[in-house]
């Protein structure tokens, strides 16, 4: 199936993770122009190294959700021109709720929920002006089925899902739609570490019997960005091999 895209400029939040880089490669091959965010110089260097063969066909931009002034800088660099957002950004906070540092709780939700909402407000306004836009939030099956210690992570993911859902609800009439993808265990990032620690046990819970690959998730995100997926709006799509379907 040939995918079609109304626009070209794709802002990828959390742009230095494996999933984001894999998606960026696929987007470039489709003729789109990814703009990947990085938070540290190390992340920026990683992007340059991994996307070396695509030089000139993508951009990178500094963004740290803990630093609000950078949000405004981001949109200046984008020159208020944006067609798509794909959001992989999410901080880690693994601890039991009863054990958490109170200051860390506030910091975590400020970065992972409030700052995201502010950024999406700005992106939405650009898209409303253009009367066209598409946003894909990459959540997690842990939002629905967290392990002990993932309470804050799940809460922030669910809050973010709700923001995306309402954007789609409010703006679809103005040509801006949203969808959330909830992947299960992936051989990348946090999932990779978890799988390495206890793969056999984790896989027993997945009817499919295996974890997802980065490429599978990136291709699903690509489809959800495409014009053909437009009607997936203000909703969540699970992609977890059946993990959350049963007990």
């Amino acid at each position: 199936m040939r995918l079609e895209f109304f626009g070209r400029r794709v802002l990828i939040l959390g742009g230095t993770c494996d999933l984001a880089i894999t998606l960026a490669e696929i987007l470039i091959q489709e003729g789109l122009h990814p703009i990947l965010t990085w938070r540290s110089e190390a992340g920026k260097g990683r992007l340059s190294a991994m996307l070396e063969s695509f030089s000139g066909r993508y951009e990178t931009v500094h963004l740290d959700l803990a630093r609000r002034p950078l949000l405004h800088g981001l949109f200046s660099e984008l020159k208020d021109d944006l067609d798509y957002v794909v959001d992989f950004a999410h901080g880690d906070m693994e601890c039991l709720i009863g054990s958490a540092n109170p200051d860390e709780i506030h910091r975590y939700f400020s970065e992972n929920v409030s700052a995201r909402a502010e950024l999406l407000r700005m992106a939405a306004r650009i898209m409303v002006r253009k009367r066209r836009g598409r946003m894909v939030f990459v959540s997690s099956s842990a939002a629905l089925k967290p392990n002990p210690g993932q309470g804050f992570y799940a809460a922030a993911k669910l809050a973010s899902e709700a923001i995306y859902r309402n954007l789609g609800l409010e703006l679809a009439g103005r040509g801006v739609t949203t969808v959330t993808l909830r992947p299960g265990y992936i051989h990348a990032g946090r999932g990779k570490k978890y799988l390495e620690a206890g793969e056999a046990e984790a896989l027993r819970a997945i009817p499919l019997g295996r974890a997802l690959t980065c490429r599978e998730v990136a291709q699903a995100a690509l489809f959800l960005l495409s014009d053909g997926a437009w009607a997936f709006n203000a909703t969540e799509v699970s992609m977890d091999g059946g993990l959350t379907a049963g007990k």
């Binding site: 306004r125 409303v128 002006r129 409010e170 009439g173």
Partner: protein, 123 residues
Amino acid sequence: MDTLSEITKSLGEILDIEMEEITPEAYVVRDLGAESIDLLELSVALNARFKVEVNEDEVFLRTFRVFLNKATEARKNPADYLQAKFPFLGPGRIGEILSDIDGGPVLKVKDLTAYVSWRLGDN
């Protein structure tokens, strides 16, 4: 750039209505039928057309009643209190709104013009 005609143009495009209906005295919600999503689009359009930061609480008078209640609670003169919060409106317009407030949303096209002119430093 004529502020009123630019705002009229934006409103006409967003609300899909004839320009003749959009007079300075027209109520944006009561007469022209604007909904919250239209006001969002209008805010974006004002920002793009005039290159001014738009505070939606101010330009759409969303906090007018909140500040009126605060003035009453603090036993302050409502007109003076509101004038300080909405400097672009002017005393005459504040008085008009106070006498009209029970009739529904008070925002008029001329309030939008006053806000943009104020932000542009025309006044």
